[in-house]
Symmetry: C3
Subunit: 441 residues, 3 copies
């Protein structure tokens, strides 16, 4: 009950609001208020994911680039929010001005009439809550890419790329499903965005990491690397904040405070995260005989991404399997990327793309829902089409944007800047100053 | 709909509760419960701002004073809560024992009869929720000052000063507006406290920083400084937690879970924060040709402080302008303070005082609200009076408290203590022990 | 109104659901929805406590063991959640398959029929919300122990021990009270788990710390120690997240969004935390003439643990006393443990065990509640029996599990591993890489 139903309600309201306000308000004031409150809480949780992404990315990379990463993340969040307010929201939910199932646009800016602040707009939330929840989602698409291009991308180029990707690419794909477009019509099921959000970010991450090439010193012929994350506690904080935020990301995607619906989603989400950790733990220990903290942390995110598409239609028991396989995939995917020498500093591609694909397809395998309630039957083929179409569209978009930037202003910093660190080159300061005790303890 | 309406309801209840309980309970049990739940969530969000303030202050200062800063922040929070329970709450909301529009006091301690736990007390929250939400606010007034006096104030003197400021100064100013005092009667509009909270803290920060003088090594004649923040990731965490907390600070100031009201406030709050980042980014880049992370982080807080006074009466589009100008002001204000050699380690004065004034005046420029609903017309003059009166009162209070402390126990640590760091001098430990890898990476 | 009432409702529903669904749903849909929403929020808050525990433990210990501590904490959370889903939840709430007041088991796995997602299951939450809230609690029991055994326990042994403790010991004790067992029948009052959660964790921590012995270099004959926490900012973050989480831990234990009940609990919880800080501050300053940050931080947790048993039946004024004494106890308890040379790196025993006992007994001293509402009278004797029984059972369980592990695979790492750090030995990486500035500032 995500995009299509919401659109339907919106259309009803937009066309008939003046005369049937009382009739279309099918829920009590109390019900509307609790729904809206829940959606606001979910919005806060998704907001805090941006701190999570930043902490994860900074922790998994080197201290000499930390200021750059933090700057990038806070800027992109703000640019993303403003761009989404200006055009994104109206591209993603074009409403009645809808022009075909592939593209629509409802005009610039956000604006609510008084009916849009009542349950006449939607039983679950006001127009403003709707916008804010969606805006927090939108910015994640760029943040996912940020991790994959860390420590070598030119800041200004990344900001231009991210602006376009959040303002145009993400909302267009989002419209296909959640704005009532062709994927929704086809019966593609992606509850909270394994493909629509994580896939969109993940495909962008893949092509960007490939076009940029690996960081200096990342791949030596003998297989070792010069590069290690500079603060695993920071990465750990990031992962836990992402996990926390996912309760809002998935729980809020129910689009109301429906007790049965939301609590099921929270349980499948949480079990998949826990199982993802176990999957990554077991496979990475088997492969390397060490307890790999980075893999285990990414394992939780892998489980979370994997369950995101089907958190509402997969049983708790099956969510353990979906998450566990996600955790396994993240270890194998990381190894695969290393084999083909694509440098992805935080594992954005294994986590968001590979597990996003897995999770979307898993809906076609494990998902169970009443077609009468859902409005369509779950089908593996539809899932496959959704994954493929998103992939093609995102690769073209990201490739085009990055290609143009590469030909004009360039996308990679100079070798000297990379060696000295982006903080010195672009920001003139360091993330850390002296720590008092430097003698071994 | 903040203080005056609330007071009105309280008065009604306090005088007539025994006989008209059923009548005065104008909302359903469900409505009261959802309102109260929202207010509790908002309380938690404001609580987490205290972690945000501490992280920001510690990150923007030197490692040798980190323990001192953390100690100061946790102590002040606790002293503030207890002092507010003992006297502050009853100074701020004197209710029927009201003695004139400038001062009132309802007695010591907090205590709720059974009616105070129902909607007879207020449609939006119980007495206990009311107290807790307000107590979390109160402690921020001292925490704002904490940043401006960091790295050189004597701990015991600061704790005495902060206790007085939270127990007396803040609640008295608060009463003028939110307790139904003379500013409320005059039609001064300060939705969530650009002046009443941030101004009160900001004026205290200004005079305290001026009276203490700059840190050793802060201002050299050639314009350079010896001093840099020791951990920008810590400051970054602080800023994001403050941003998160502001959703409760502003959103909770609606004093109910009203869907239209709260969601509008959340959108204006969030857009102003994002625009503040852009304002600070553009101006600081223009001025210095570097991407200044510290300025950008303070830019988000600048936008948040600026929108706080008018988050309920300024449109989303105008909130972008208000926040953007806040971000510009924080850069110019920081430069101005450096010019006059007032040392404010975290930028508390530009953020909380300058943007607090700007935001309060912006209500008189951009604010639009129905006077019939609000109970008064928005007026630039009223805003100016509120700003000026608060400034005079706070400067006198803070000047008096700090002057007395300076003459008696002293307010600044010795030169030796400052040089070695306050952690060694006052706490006997260091914030950080050895980090294993110290070879360049 | 915790376990016993809940069980009663569950039993009613389980036995009579098919025919009296409409009748047993005694609350409106709106009321059920707001209750369930509150319980979900409380669940998120308890979740974030796990990040708090990890940050606290890592901050209070040495950098060379940080990866190990983070790995331990994320793994235990996941194992705990999965084990609780598999057996724990059904051991703790055996429902109608109840086999005596000491033990019961409702079968493996979690599964909800459609009635379990309505208020027919419980007026306050769905079956899934119930499970998730309880699962977050369960994992804390192991996490509490984690701190006491840090820097020397063998990872695999700890994981086996923690699995057993969370899957068996904790839910069995939990059933005695919250599952309607013999402690509930006897009138033992432990609102949110000073004994049932913190005591269970604390007893395990005590025996585990004693069986392991102190870390190398912890106790020298002249009283000094080689060991200091490596990052007090990290510990500070941990404490504030724990405090935040406690609003859900205690506030959620009301098991509904009852405005009067929850807001009272939040106030007593918060005042006790603040008073705990003051207690620890005053006593530690008196004893050592320094402002001890570690003690003050543990003081807040001491206050929180102490009020947990009686947060619903102790007045705000008395909660200040209960919390203050908790803060005093944590300082004295730490000194006592040092005297008897039990090495507890984070102070888990003083915080969770000693203050857990104090808080449980304080219910018999300060607690006031209507026996007609509560279903039993508060009694010091009942409290004492509950504390003692839990102690004996937990010591036997933990002693047995750890004894078996010690005899077979061993529980302590080698002297060489301990000296070099567990991160090098078990994980092959370090938590921190180089920080750019290493010159004194």
């Amino acid at each position: 009950m995500t995009g299509s139903k919401k659109l339907l309600l919106s259309l009803l309201v937009l066309t008939a609001a003046p005369m049937c306000l009382a009739e279309s308000a099918t829920v009590s004031d109390e019900m509307f208020r609790i729904n809206n409150t829940w959606m606001m809480v979910a919005t806060f949780l998704v907001f805090i994911m941006h701190l999570g992404f930043a902490a994860l990315e900074a922790g998994f990379t080197r201290a000499k680039n930390t200021v750059n990463i933090l700057f990038k993340n806070v800027s992109i969040l703000c640019i993303g929010i403003l761009a989404y307010a200006l055009v994104g929201f109206n591209l993603m939910y074009p409403g009645e001005s809808f022009a075909g199932a592939f593209f629509g646009f409802a005009g610039f800016g956000i604006n609510a009439d008084s009916a849009a602040l009542t349950s006449a707009y939607n039983e679950g939330y006001t127009y403003y809550t709707d916008f804010l929840f969606q805006a927090m989602f939108a910015a994640t698409a760029a943040t996912i890419i940020s991790g994959a291009v860390a420590e070598r991308i030119k800041l200004s180029s990344f900001m231009m790329f991210a602006t376009l990707y959040v303002a145009i690419t993400y909302p267009m794909v989002g419209m296909w499903k959640w704005g009532g477009g062709w994927l929704a019509e086809m019966g593609f099921h992606d509850f909270a965005g394994s493909t629509i959000v994580h896939g969109v970010g993940g495909w962008g991450a893949l092509i960007a990491a490939w076009m940029l090439g690996p960081r200096i010193g990342r791949f030596h012929d003998d297989g070792h690397t010069d590069i290690h994350g500079h603060s695993l506690p920071l990465a750990f904080i990031g992962v836990f904040l992402l996990w926390l935020g996912w309760f809002g990301f998935n729980g809020g995607s129910v689009l109301s405070a429906d007790p049965g619906g939301v609590s099921l989603v929270l349980v499948t989400t949480n079990l998949a995260a826990a199982a993802g950790v176990m999957g990554a733990l077991i496979v990475s220990f088997t492969m390397s005989k060490t307890y790999n903290l980075g893999m285990v942390l990414n394992g939780s995110l892998a489980g979370l991404v994997a369950i995101t598409a089907g958190a509402d239609v997969i049983s708790p028991a099956m969510s353990v399997i979906v998450g566990f396989i996600g955790g396994v995939l993240v270890v194998l995917g990381t190894t695969l990327l290393e084999k083909v020498r694509i440098d992805d500093p935080v594992g954005a591609v294994p986590v968001h793309l590979m597990c996003g694909i897995w999770g979307t397809l898993a809906v076609g395998i494990f998902g169970k829902a009443d077609p009468a309630v859902l409005g369509y039957s779950l089908s593996f083929t539809s899932q496959l089409v959704g994954v493929a179409a998103t992939g093609v569209f995102c690769l073209i978009n990201a490739g085009l944007f990055l290609g143009l930037l590469k030909m004009t202003v360039g996308i990679r910093v100079s070798q000297e800047e990379e060696t000295h660190g982006l903080d010195a080159a672009e920001h003139g300061i360091q993330a850390y100053s002296h720590h008092p005790f430097t003698t071994p303890n």
